[in-house]
């Protein structure tokens, strides 16, 4: 396309043959477009770049020189202090303990429901999908009061929960993530599995393969692109959860990293650049996952939107 774009001569047929070539006469508009996009993109990155920049400077310097200034000192002190005062390693570990089982169980559970409801037609298969889809659309705050009361009344042995109850335990957070996120995942996976050839069911049956074999050895491998996309997306969503943990995990020390932000700005964090460094700790894993798995990430979002 670029070669044709630069060619100075072309006849009328060629010119109308492609939309792109029709753009030839308004070259200056093209330049303006690039300028506009570049400027907007740079403005868009200002809060993130600003946070990174500030996190490497002492707060006193930002105060005296202002944000737009050449740095006199670049230091890791903010990161060091935030790491210690925010107990970041412990918070990462808390997140890890919730994220890994929650993510695995969510994909496992929702793929089973999606399989059962989209590969077989039975009395309640559509009702089941409606239930999960609608559940995924509810605001979390609708269910929080009864959920909190329920969690408060489920006892857990001491070695499973510091609080002795489901409330305030890692298990409680894992369960609600699985229950809530399986709404969206079931919706997306059923849309995907529905499009796999119907003959697969028939072939498995003829070969004498059971339901589980059809699910685990035939349908699941074919669903891998959707699972990869969902895993990336759900990683971010569960990692980014703030609400469930703030309400159901009220002991600051046991909170996963994102919701431990709720404790920031208080006694420990006295300056803005320290907060910027702490924010970078929280943001880093999602940013890394996004840049490493960008393709899957975008695919996940659009999978959900595809079948509107």
């Amino acid at each position: 396309m670029t070669v044709v774009d630069d060619a100075p001569t072309m006849n009328a047929d060629e010119a109308s043959a492609s939309f792109e070539q029709n753009k030839q006469p308004i070259r200056p508009a093209r330049v303006l477009l690039y300028i506009f996009l570049t400027v907007t993109a740079l403005v868009w990155l200002v809060p993130i770049i600003g946070a990174i920049y500030a996190s490497f400077r002492p707060f006193s310097e930002t105060v005296s020189e202002g944000y737009f200034s050449v740095p006199n000192t670049l230091t890791l002190d903010n990161y060091k202090n935030a790491w210690e005062q925010g107990d970041i390693l412990k918070k990462y570990w808390n997140t890890f303990l919730i994220l890994v089982p929650a993510l695995t169980l969510t994909l496992f559970f929702s793929s089973m429901v999606a399989f059962a409801a989209s590969r077989y037609s039975w009395k309640f298969n559509i009702s089941l999908l409606v239930l999960f889809t609608a559940g995924n659309l509810l605001p979390q705050q609708i269910i929080i009061q009864p959920l909190f009361q329920m969690y408060n009344r489920v006892p857990l042995p001491e070695f499973l929960s510091n609080s002795g109850r489901l409330n305030g335990s890692t298990w409680g957070l894992i369960l609600i993530h699985v229950a809530f996120q399986s709404g969206f995942c079931t919706f997306v996976l059923s849309n995907y599995m529905k499009l796999l050839p119907k003959s697969l069911n028939e072939a498995a049956r003829v070969d004498g393969a059971g339901v589980w074999t059809l699910y685990w050895q035939i349908i699941m491998p074919l669903t891998r692109p959707a699972l990869a996309a969902l895993a990336t997306l759900e990683f971010t969503w569960i990692y980014n959860d703030f609400f469930w943990a703030v309400v159901l995990e009220q002991q600051g020390a046991d909170r996963p990293i994102t919701s431990s932000l709720a404790n920031l700005g208080g006694e420990f964090f006295t300056d803005d650049n320290l907060i910027a460094a702490a924010s970078m700790y929280v943001a880093a894993p999602t940013l890394i996952v996004y840049f490493a798995l960008q393709k899957h990430f975008i695919a996940g979002l659009t999978l959900g939107a595809d079948k509107g």
């Binding site: 670029t2 939309f19 477009l33 690039y34 996009l37 868009w44 809060p47 946070a51 105060v63 559970f109 089973m112 429901v113 059962a116 409801a117 989209s118 077989y120 037609s121 039975w122 298969n125 239930l131 999960f132 889809t133 609608a134 559940g135 659309l137 509810l138 605001p139 979390q140 705050q141 609708i142 269910i143 929080i144 009061q145 009864p146 369960l175 609600i176 399986s182 709404g183 119907k198 049956r205 059971g210 339901v211 589980w212 971010t236 990692y239 609400f243 994102t258 932000l261 709720a262 907060i275 910027a276 702490a278 924010s279 929280v282 940013l287 996952v289 960008q294 959900g304 939107a305 595809d306």
Partner: protein, 332 residues
Amino acid sequence: MTDATAVLDAATKTKHKVKKSSMFKGRDRTVFTLMVVVPTTLHVLLVWVPTIASIFLSFTDWNGIRFSEMGLVGFENYWQIFTVFEKDFFQALLNNAMLLVFLFVGPTVFGMGLAYLLDKNIRGSRVYQSAFYTPVVLSLAVVGFMWQSVIYSTENGLATEIFGGGEAVDWIGNQEFIFSFAINGGEYGLSKNFLAILVAIAWRHTGYIMVLYLAGLKSVDNSLREAASLDGANEWQAFRRVIFPTLKPINVVIAVITVIEALRAFDIIFVLNKPRKTEVLSILTTNNLLGEGGGNVGRGSAYAAILFLLCLGFVIWYVTNHYKGSQEGAES
């Protein structure tokens, strides 16, 4: 006919009837039942049972301690919300509404515009997309902290340096109304600190919309564009009459996402809601659990029930729209 045989029957339903009894053997039936029942039980128990319970509890005066102390009080909680706490409630409702409108006229329109421009065979389109999309992967709580410390810092935030004219500006503390109106002695409107939060939300939401529209635009047939330009339509006409209508499925998804996001908004407001006037319904619900009004399960649930009522229509509309015709369609 039991459910299992119904499954079996449907599973083998082809043009010519196949013998039923040999398809779903005992083990398969158990496996299939477990595959459906275990995840569904968890989902229903932790999502739908609490939803119904919220509605029930909104008609009680429960303090959340002992069930024996629970009394039915009819619409008392709602009555209190509408008469005693009406200033908080109507401002929160208005904030939700303003957030919704703002998301449509701000990030949605802008995100669509960006998608349209980036779809024009842009060199380095990926790089631009990444720039706009990066904020979307951040949690709104982090967005709140980033903006609080970098952009909105009172003394030396970026916004203060650019727009402050040398003065300190209290971006997230200023409760002054930009516009307001009075009803029944209460003043309601758009406060300056809520606008500051809206801008931060827009920063994150735009990239989300852009990605969805980009996916939609990829599926628009190029011959449609050519036909429009051959007919002498200018760009705007071609977009409005030809391209936009073909994006209808994406428009539906975005409408639903936007409405639900506007009703769900919580994190960033919880983080930045220091001096008030930025409450939304989700915050009022949760305040009755965590904050000043802790222990008032009845009133908290009444806020939740109102929230449920507000999103119910959209949920039903979307679900019926999506599964319309599936009953006959799914046959394999």
